[in-house]
């Protein structure tokens, strides 16, 4: 532990800006000794992941508060070929008002927004317009998302274009082939270049963990992306066959912890794809709280990449307020 948070965690509840109280991770030289020492025992990791939900049960008001916290950490996302500006505007409206005003009043949380809105490059202007004045940042997926196999100079140019267009956060995809062929130096160099291209925009490194073959590769790729200056490490594009899972999360959180212990820089975490239930969201928050600590339970260090999660959370919140189980159609769609 070398440096401390510059100031304490923010106690303002709105708007949910990325709270830039953390010094950005500048990265470090590639330390292959450290990378190659990393181990990940699949069975043991799965056992921990399987027992955690039963070890930590969050009920009643606490559950409601945790679910609200989860909303504040959602990167409300649309990444479809058929996205239009109106579609994105609708999404942004939901990001501004993720839960109906009457429910929020009942919960004494009058202002609440999602953590960000996440779109393709072409949708950045639409999103910015729709979010104007809300303080909600726009994140853009980049670098030939989701496969990341377009020419490197074009991937770097894409980042630059998106930053120029006003994206505050860039979600890049790594070249999985560098991991699968063990070309760790190439992975490091690529991430370094992406980070440089981002400038002041924060960069989330998507590992596409479902395509890395095993958990040890996840641990190694996580560490290299942090060494190369990633602000966040993120599980998946949402387009792989397997996206965010608890075992993968555990491996990435432990890598973040090791990196923090060694360098003093807190790197954020974003699971994406496959998290659609309120209960899952609580489990992820609990795992974060257990493995990394409370500081990570804020949108500057944690995001859910999700589209349908919000609706399930809304139903649970209404249940908390009214005591009756809710229905999806009662809550505004995005």
């Amino acid at each position: 532990m070398q440096t401390q948070t510059k100031s304490g965690p923010s106690h303002t509840s709105a708007p949910q800006l990325p709270q830039v109280t953390e010094p950005r991770n500048p990265g470090m030289d590639l330390d292959m000794n450290w990378v190659m020492r990393l181990q990940a025992n699949t069975s043991a990791i799965e056992r921990r992941a399987a027992s955690l939900p039963a070890r930590r049960s969050v009920k009643k008001s606490h559950q409601a508060a945790w679910l609200l916290r989860a909303i504040s950490c959602i990167d409300l996302t649309t990444l479809s070929g058929d996205d239009t500006e109106r579609r994105v505007a609708r999404l942004c409206a939901k990001a501004r008002q993720p839960v109906s005003a009457d429910l929020l009043r009942a919960l004494d949380m009058p202002t609440l927004t999602t953590g960000a809105v996440c779109v393709y490059h072409e949708m950045i202007p639409a999103a910015l317009r729709a979010l104007q004045g809300s303080g909600i940042p726009v994140a853009a997926v980049s670098t030939g998302f989701p496969a990341g196999l377009s020419p490197l100079h074009l991937r770097i140019a894409e980042i630059e274009e998106s930053v120029k267009a006003g994206a505050a956060e860039i979600d890049i995809v790594i070249s999985r082939r560098h991991v699968l062929t063990g070309d760790w130096q190439a992975l490091y160099d690529e991430m370094r270049a992406f980070r440089a291209a981002c400038g002041d925009a924060h960069v989330k490194a998507i590992l596409a963990t479902g395509e890395l073959g095993n958990l040890r590769n996840v641990a190694r790729a996580s560490m290299i992306c942090m060494m190369a200056g990633a602000d966040f490490i993120k599980t998946s594009t949402g387009k792989e066959a397997v996206n965010a899972t608890l075992p993968v999360t555990l491996v990435m959180l432990r890598a973040i912890r090791d990196y923090y212990d060694r360098t003093g820089y807190r790197v954020g975490y974003k699971p994406a794809g496959g998290i659609s239930k309120a209960k899952d969201a609580v489990t992820y928050l609990a795992l974060l709280k257990e493995e990394l600590g409370d500081r990570w339970l804020r949108p500057d260090l944690f995001r859910f990449g999700a589209s349908s999660l919000l609706n399930d959370i809304e139903r649970q919140l209404e249940h908390h307020v009214t005591g009756s189980y809710s229905a999806a159609y009662r809550h505004a769609t995005s």
Binding site: H11, S13, Q39, A40, N41, T42, S43, A44, I45, E46, R47, R48, S51, A54, R55, R56, S57, V58, K59, K60, S61, H62, A64, A65, W66, L68, R69, L107, D108, M109, N214, R254, L285, A286, K289, E290, D294, L297
Partner: protein, 780 residues
């Protein structure tokens, strides 16, 4: 706190499980309980109180069983047993299946009641204890179903007295009752006075299952009731608990003919190599030593960390400990609950207060101000000589030291009187699979810990007891061979005063460490033929000769590492060389015993050597079907050094029948030759010397069995003793074996037909081996 406040603090809050139904069940019984005898509850009598350790609240008043009540329970079990056994495997399977289903139907009631009574976190009771208890009944329903097909030569023992501990009340009940019932036994079971409630609820389930009266009897009370059960008319005692009580039971049942299995204490090593997944190994310790507040006989309580990662490992471990939540066991988000009783808390506190070695870290976590709680504790920087490294604490205290090499890890791990379980963390399969067989334990978990299942035997070696619970290997403990044994005939040596038969004086010496040695005492006795002729002198071995033989056997331990193929070759060679001298041996046998059966005995001895040469590379282990992605390897390992009081009858065949299976399985043996007819054994020395048997693998003593039997059974460096000698030796051997709780196999004064099927077979191979279950979860 308001929602918006919690939104900032992100606290867990509480998640209490309701105790209403469990309390209602207690209330329905008037909070007073009698025993469950012959299918119904007795009227509550004088007794004791049972408290909730987390709060100190009175839960119920229980009855202390009287002698008459224990006798009544044993009588009811005796009366019910023949019909229960005659019901057949399928009939019993139906009842065991019903018990499993009923446990499942009432699972939450059992879990909450267990937590109230014991103080363990509800999560553990709900997710581990109760499901595993169900699993044992399901699994053994299957064993009942298969008994006639799979174990055609075995039958029930009869009535089993079972005494269980307080750390896993219902689970230990299941481990005891399920296999006993499956094999056709009936039981008298006593839970501990601290935790009897789930056993009494189980009694109700037995009624609901329509279990025949008297098949399960449950009596409550303290240790003195346990003593009454041990002394009662039962055929077997199964005990789980402390090593000191186990030792007492061993002594108390000596010579009674009662079968005995003991599952005792431990100080299990938890070994972390420098190539381990460190975070997972740290997390594993939560399941190893902070599971059930560390009150687990197989708890990974001795942490051994390889030096290069020790500082990092300890730092991560301390951080992990500080995240443990200690408190109300009924809260679903609690990791560590209450210590069972103020007495146990006092014991832990006293042990820790007396320690000034190493550095202690107490988890920086909130501990309730009232109730029986002890903070999770790590003591690092200890040495093997420190009390905390040797004594079982039975609480949430982890002690630790470091090691340099794999060999040193094994040395430190095995530096204990106990031998229940061990944990090994390494990502290197070569290393892990090399270490596992070298650990002196009944269980090894690789990259995992505290895994248990009905399909894999649980139990230890050394002073952790003997016998296995679960798996095929556990069934031996609840069955016996079919058929009725006859009493042993006493045989005495012939006396005479005729001249020597040999033209030149021959001196039969002892055979120790591959050398013929004179007896330490310097005494010999003459051996006369039936005809009265002097056929030789034999040395009289004393305890020092025995000591020397044990040291020779220890020096020959490499034998256990040889291949089955090599041991087979040597056994065949022994047969070959015996065959070459068959006539001479036959003549000697005839001269010693009279009659003309010598040639047949030699021939049978040769056959027997062939039999165990055949088995040497074929007595395979198993892979158990445990419910994990991975395997549980049931490896058959040699017991170690086995002392054998050879039968007086069949002086050659009896000795070979014991020696051959023992050495075939990789043991070293010390054979006390037939007392009246010792010369077959001393002649056999020359066969041993010419057959490539390594020095020390077979040692032969002669002289009165009584001069060495007690010392043999008491010797701490002997791992097993078999007595096929005169009847009174059985009691002496069993009583003296309590010293290090070595395995014993005695004849209880009953005869064995050495020339028939009784003289060989699975019983000998089982006695010559220990089953070690090595759990290897895997995953790419």
């Amino acid at each position: 706190m308001t929602v918006s406040e919690i939104f900032e603090t992100m606290d867990y809050g509480t998640a209490p499980e309701t105790a209403a139904e469990a309390c209602a069940w207690i209330k329905r019984h008037g909070a007073r309980f009698g025993h469950f005898i012959d299918g119904s509850f007795t009227k509550p009598g004088r007794g004791f109180e049972s408290h909730n350790p987390a709060t100190g609240d009175l839960l119920a008043t229980l009855t202390q069983a009287t002698q008459a009540e224990v006798d009544a329970a044993a009588r009811a079990a005796r009366k019910a047993q023949p019909k229960w056994e005659a019901l057949g495997g399928h009939g019993r399977a139906r009842y065991l299946y019903a018990l499993a289903r009923l446990l499942q139907k009432h699972s939450r009631l059992f879990a909450v009641l267990e937590t109230l009574d014991n103080g363990k976190p509800i999560r553990e009771a709900r997710d581990i204890d109760i499901p595993l208890a169900q699993r044992h009944f399901y699994y053994h329903a299957g064993m009942a179903q298969l008994m006639e097909d799979a174990l055609p030569d075995r039958c029930a023992l009869g009535v089993c007295g079972q005494i269980i501990p307080w750390n896993f009340p219902l689970l230990m009940l299941a481990w005891k009752i399920a296999p006993a019932l499956a094999m056709g036994n009936t039981v008298v079971l006593k839970p501990t006075e601290w935790t009897s409630l789930t056993a009494l609820l189980f009694a109700e389930i037995c009624q609901q299952a329509g279990l025949p009266k008297g098949v399960v009897n449950i009596v409550t009370g303290d240790g003195t009731v346990g003593e009454k059960i041990v002394a009662a008319q039962v055929d077997k005692i199964a005990f789980t608990g402390s090593t000191s009580v186990g030792r007492g039971i061993r002594a108390a049942t000596a010579g009674s003919g009662k079968a005995l299995t003991l599952e005792l204490g431990g100080k299990s090593p938890y070994i972390v190599f420098d190539d381990a997944d460190i975070d997972s190994a740290v997390e594993g310790l939560v399941d190893a030593i902070w599971f059930n507040q560390g009150q687990v006989c197989c708890a990974g309580a001795r942490l051994l960390v390889q030096e290069p990662i020790a500082d990092l490992f300890y730092r991560k471990l301390r951080a992990r400990m500080d995240k443990l939540r200690v408190g109300n066991p009924l809260d679903k988000s609690i990791d560590v609950g209450a210590i069972i009783d103020p007495a146990q808390l006092q014991r832990i506190t006293a042990l820790m207060a007396a320690n000034d070695a190493g550095e202690s870290h107490l988890a920086a976590t909130e501990i309730p101000g009232t109730g029986c709680f002890y903070p999770p504790t790590l003591v690092t920087g200890l040495n093997p000589a420190d009390t905390l490294m040797q004594e079982e604490i039975f609480g949430p205290v982890l002690v630790s030291t470091t090691f340099r090499t794999p060999a040193e890890a094994v040395q430190l791990a095995n530096n204990t009187r106990y031998g229940l379980a061990a944990t090994v963390w390494s990502e290197n399969i070569n290393l892990a699979l090399d270490i596992a067989p070298k650990l002196a334990t009944g269980i090894v978990w690789i990259n995992s810990t505290n895994m248990m299942d009905a399909a894999a035997g649980f139990g230890g070696v050394r002073e952790s007891g003997f016998g296995r619970e679960g798996g095929w290997e556990g069934l031996t403990a609840y069955t016996k061979p079919k058929g009725k044994a006859k009493p042993l005939k006493e045989i005495t040596a012939f006396a005479g005063d005729d001249a020597p038969a040999d033209p030149i004086d021959r001196t039969a010496k002892l055979y120790i460490g591959g050398k013929q040695t004179r007896p330490d005492g310097g005494y010999s006795r003459p051996v006369w033929a039936k005809s009265g002729a002097l056929i030789g002198h034999v040395s009289l071995a004393n305890r020092k000769d025995l000591r020397n033989a044990v040291e020779a056997a220890q020096a020959a331990k490499g034998w256990s590492q040889t291949t089955g193929h090599l041991r087979a070759q040597i056994l065949y060679y022994l047969a070959e060389n015996l065959s070459a001298r068959a006539d001479e041996f036959a003549k000697r046998l005839n001269a010693m015993q009279g009659g003309k059966a010598g040639a047949e005995e030699v021939d049978l001895a040769i056959k027997r050597l062939f039999t165990y040469a055949a088995w040497a590379d074929k007595y395979d282990g198993q892979i158990h079907g445990v419910p994990i992605r991975g395997i549980a390897l049931a490896m058959k390992e040699p017991v170690g050094t086995i002392g054998v009081i050879c039968p007086n009858e069949a002086p050659l065949l009896g000795m070979i029948s014991c020696m051959a299976p023992a050495i075939a399985m990789g043991n070293c043996v010390i054979l006390a030759a037939s007392e009246p007819f010792p010369l077959a054994a001393t002649d056999f020395v020359q066969v041993l010397e010419t057959s490539d048997v390594p020095a020390g693998v077979v040692n032969i003593l002669t002289g009165p069995h009584g001069d060495v039997a007690g010392d043999m059974a008491a010797h701490m460096d002997i791992d097993g003793v078999w007595s096929f000698g005169a009847a009174p030796l059985s009691e002496e051997v069993e009583r003296a074996s309590a010293s290090n709780l070595k395995r014993t196999w005695v004849n209880n004064g009953m005869a064995r037909d050495w020339s028939g099927s009784d003289g060989q077979g699975p019983a000998f191979l089982e006695a010559a081996t220990e089953v070690k279950n090595i759990w290897v979860p895997y995953g790419a």
